[in-house]
């Protein structure tokens, strides 16, 4: 029978099937962080259950960490306690932890791929919905709740019903200034925030084939924003070249053997999907969101649609935007370049390339937050930090930061923030804050201009 990429990886990990029920799926790698793991550790402790496979778990501190003065004790008492709890839990259970300040510390979905922990054909989970990021490697990777974190601790398995399959194909050549972020914002704007619920999504077509691993991670990262538990892209030479030589990647003959296996994973010609969508790359332009879910996106040159639905109106009221109006020239005081969606070296290269020789607008507070210590080092080594500093920007230290504003990086009430993160929900970046999702290029241009501009006119 013809199989999809998803089928091949899923089927290879099924331990058993419950009669008339879910399947037991084996999990190769379990990533954990400080926010969604403590209650799972408590659960195991209360029930006197040991962690089954500690060597398949990797921990990092990212959600609740400051992005300034990381060498000092964390000021906020609750955050400090939560971080200390993670360290204690990892130490008690022999789990590898890249804590604050460690050279491998970073956002869980940035550090695992860059260390070669993420590999094609694996199953990976984390108590974080953006675990879908790792699907860029042809990995089944998805977010889980804390009860499931405890289940994986206890058994290295999960009880799951196999999701349905969805394929989104984008063919053609992307226009100048259209980045992977625009591609996924465009797809979500067309399909809506729940089109993928119950499905695992494969992204196919030459747009993704020609994308870097960083770009593929940006795309897969936001699969959850259309409801899909995960997204996947078939592993190819770009994938193998990225994985090769990384700290925890297989070496030498092992690597070659793995590559031979990984080459068998792409979807068979003629395999069928439960749902398929096709888009043309030429239709995609730089995108911005205008509402309070990631599906409420438009091309930067378009106007906000008109819709009488009460939830739609509530959303525009929150954003203080009017239906039928354009976002161009909207004054913006806050810009955030970071998050597990867009905090990799490529994102900072794009921003630096635009910013070079320009100045940050005086009204703008801009936070540039690398996804990991390694990205931070790369930014410095490539001279990007000098470009940012010369233009009046400050580079902060790694973490989730203003994407969810659990730390001090909060956008004030009623302020707009053009953000490279993944969610524009009400209050996501701070109580009463208003988020406009965009690519690193649009974010950089906004920071320089102090308002939203039609970037397409500036590039042509």
């Amino acid at each position: 029978m013809k199989k999809t990429l998803f089928d091949k990886v899923w089927d290879a990990h099924v331990v058993d099937t419950v009669q008339d029920g879910p399947q037991i799926l084996y999990i190769d790698k379990h990533l954990i962080h400080e926010v969604t793991s403590p209650q799972a550790f408590n659960e195991l402790q209360d029930r006197a259950i040991p962690v089954f496979r500690p060597n398949q778990i990797v921990a990092t501190a990212d959600h609740n960490t400051p992005t300034l003065d990381q060498h000092l004790p964390v000021k906020d008492e609750l955050s400090r306690k939560q971080l200390a709890q993670l360290s204690e839990n990892c130490s008690n259970n022999n789990i590898t932890l890249y804590e604050l300040g460690h050279k491998y510390n970073g956002i869980v979905h940035v550090m695992a791929p860059e260390l070669g922990i993420t590999q094609p054909g694996m199953t990976m989970v984390c108590g974080d919905s953006h675990t879908s990021t790792h699907g860029a490697f042809g990995t089944i990777a998805f977010g889980i709740g804390t009860s499931q974190v405890a289940q994986v601790f206890a058994s290295q398995c999960l009880l799951l019903s196999k999701p349905k399959s969805l394929r989104v194909t984008v063919n053609g050549t992307l226009k100048n200034g259209v980045l992977p972020k625009d591609v996924i914002l465009y797809i979500i704007s067309k399909l809506g925030t729940n089109s993928g619920t119950g499905y695992f999504c494969e992204y196919a077509g030459d747009v993704f084939e020609n994308m870097s691993m960083e770009g593929r991670m940006t795309v897969c990262n936001m699969s959850i924003e259309m409801g899909a538990r995960g997204g996947m892209i078939a592993p190819d030479n770009t994938t193998f070249a990225y994985v090769k030589g990384r700290e925890f990647a297989p070496k030498d003959a092992d690597f070659e053997a793995k590559v031979a296996y990984w080459k068998t994973l792409p979807t068979d010609e003629g395999a069928s999907f439960d749902k398929e969508y096709f888009f043309d790359a030429a239709d995609i332009e730089p995108m911005v969101t205008y509402g309070t879910n990631p599906g409420m996106g438009i091309k930067i040159s378009e106007t906000i649609p008109i819709d009488n639905d009460p939830s739609f109106k509530k959303s525009l009221q929150y954003m203080n935007f009017e239906a039928g109006k354009s976002l161009i020239d909207t004054p913006i005081n806050f810009v955030f370049i970071g998050s597990c969606t867009n905090s990799r070296i490529e994102d900072f290269r794009v921003a630096a390339d635009y910013i070079k020789g320009k100045r940050k607008a005086t009204n703008v507070t801009a936070w540039l937050v690398p996804g990991s210590k390694q990205v931070e080092t790369q930014i410095i080594e490539e001279g990007l930090k000098d470009i940012f500093n010369a233009a009046g920007f400050e580079l902060r230290q790694p973490g989730c930061s203003a994407c969810l504003a659990m730390n001090d990086d909060k956008i004030p009430q009623n302020e707009y923030c053009v953000s490279t993160s993944n969610r524009n929900f009400e209050g996501r970046q701070g109580q009463g804050s208003r988020t406009i999702l965009a690519s690193p290029l649009v974010a950089a241009a906004t920071a320089v201009e102090g308002k939203i501009i039609d970037i397409t006119k500036h590039l042509n």
Binding site: N42, Q148, S155, T193
Partner: protein, 196 residues
């Protein structure tokens, strides 16, 4: 986990689509290391203003609505995987959430905490909202054994789907850890012979 079989209760209407888990429990409350106290902050930024004063327009602050059933708009629980959202709803006192569509991760988290997600058709959801609108004291019955939800004192009812395994877990108060631990030998055997 608490057992669940049937529930008869009034309901609280929340007729908003795409309620995300950031609204159910904002990120700034996720610093706790236990499961307690989240109910106090459920829908925090809709329930209270920045100074902590109750927002009288929000459904949970409307004294005519009460009960342990929340009836919500389409695509409930989208966004972040935070199980804190389920803990917050359970902590507040909800036992059932009704919607025409649930986000995957939230649905799983709810089931793992004895909070029953009842998915109904859009048409029936409208009828539920209409019933509360005409009389806020309307009683609703949710029966997990027969997989039905009905509006009391009317002949309006609808069936709902639930995975047979999860149904057994809810009725008996079992959780997945018990089941997975009972399969440890199979899991160890799988590890020895996995071929990828």
């Amino acid at each position: 986990m608490e057992k669940f079989s049937t529930l008869t209760s009034q309901a609280v209407p929340l007729n908003i689509a795409n309620v995300d888990t950031d609204q159910i429990i904002p990120a700034r409350f996720l610093k706790a290391t236990d499961k307690k106290g989240f109910g106090d902050n459920v829908f925090r930024d809709w329930r209270f203003d920045k100074l902590g004063n109750p927002n009288s327009e929000f459904t949970l602050n409307n004294p005519v609505y009460s009960g342990s059933i929340l009836i919500a708009g389409d695509n409930f629980g989208c966004g972040s995987s935070r199980e804190h959202a389920a803990w917050a709803l359970v902590g507040y006192g909800f036992k059932v959430i009704v919607s025409s569509f649930f986000a995957d991760i939230f649905k799983g988290n709810a089931l793992n905490n004895g909070l029953l997600p009842v998915q109904v058709s859009e048409g029936f959801l409208e009828q539920l909202f209409a019933a509360i609108e005409s009389d806020a004291t309307t009683q609703f019955e949710v029966n997990l054994e027969t997989q039905t939800i009905s509006i009391k004192d009317t002949d309006l009812n609808e069936g709902f789907e639930i995975d047979a395994y999860k149904k057994t877990c809810m009725i008996n108060g079992y959780d997945d850890i018990d089941y997975l631990l009972s399969k440890k030998e199979l899991i160890e055997a799988f590890e020895l012979q996995k071929n990828y």
